[in-house]
Symmetry: C2
Subunit: 138 residues, 2 copies
């Protein structure tokens, strides 16, 4: 997965800048043209969901400030909240050291999860007693 | 991506429990047998990295309490910190509503990133001026 572009950036000093288009062009989209995107609540730092973007949805997210994913089930651009009203306003977008994952801090309107829970991560493992538990109500 | 097992869980009440082995068996591993895993610092809630687990690495993580990923570049189990000493102790592991992503809160020894930065997400987009910036030093 290692790419020369990101290996070179490892040694860049803090505050080193580069063109955004270059960064986007160098991202390691997978064989379906997608990267995983973590959406984190900008206020509480709670992790809300993991979804996927292709290059077009990433560019649209940056241009509009509204989180826009690629729906792998519907095979279309997915403006988060377009049907539910639960939009996500982009606050910051970061790329990881391998250029194959994104972290977005967002201002979440209402619930992130389609079940109306705040976060999609509502099933917690309890390995001590070989169980799992639902940790929030729909 | 929707799976009946997780659709049924959507309506489960808070504190509903289920066998951990059932949950693991129902996870939506991708065509490579992997799920993306978000590692979040248990103290600061900072998102540290995104990596991947297969079923064996997930079971090993739960059994040992040490974050154990699948290295996609080396094609082997990867006990995080086994070479660097920067282990991640599992505090909690959650599954999302579609069963295709994991969120782990961890106690991070030292840096999560191989560049010795605390987090792997150290390149930030600045769409207002079409640039990106390195936000922490190696």
């Amino acid at each position: 997965m290692k790419r020369m572009f990101f290996q070179n950036l490892e040694h860049a000093a803090c505050n080193h800048t580069l063109p955004l288009t270059t960064l986007i062009d160098e991202l390691a989209f997978n064989e379906q043209g997608l990267v995983p995107v973590i959406a984190q609540d900008a206020d509480s730092s709670e992790v809300l969901m993991l979804a996927w973007m292709n290059k077009v949805s990433l560019e649209q997210t940056l241009a509009t400030g509204r989180m826009t994913y690629w729906s792998r089930s519907r095979h279309e651009l997915w403006i988060k909240g377009a049907t539910s009203g639960n939009y996500q306003q982009l606050q910051s977008l970061r790329v990881d050291c391998d250029g194959d994952a994104l972290l977005c801090r967002v201002i979440q309107q209402g619930a992130a999860c389609h079940t109306m829970r705040k976060s999609c991560f509502y099933i917690e493992a309890n390995p001590a007693n070989y169980s799992a538990v639902i940790i929030s109500s729909a």
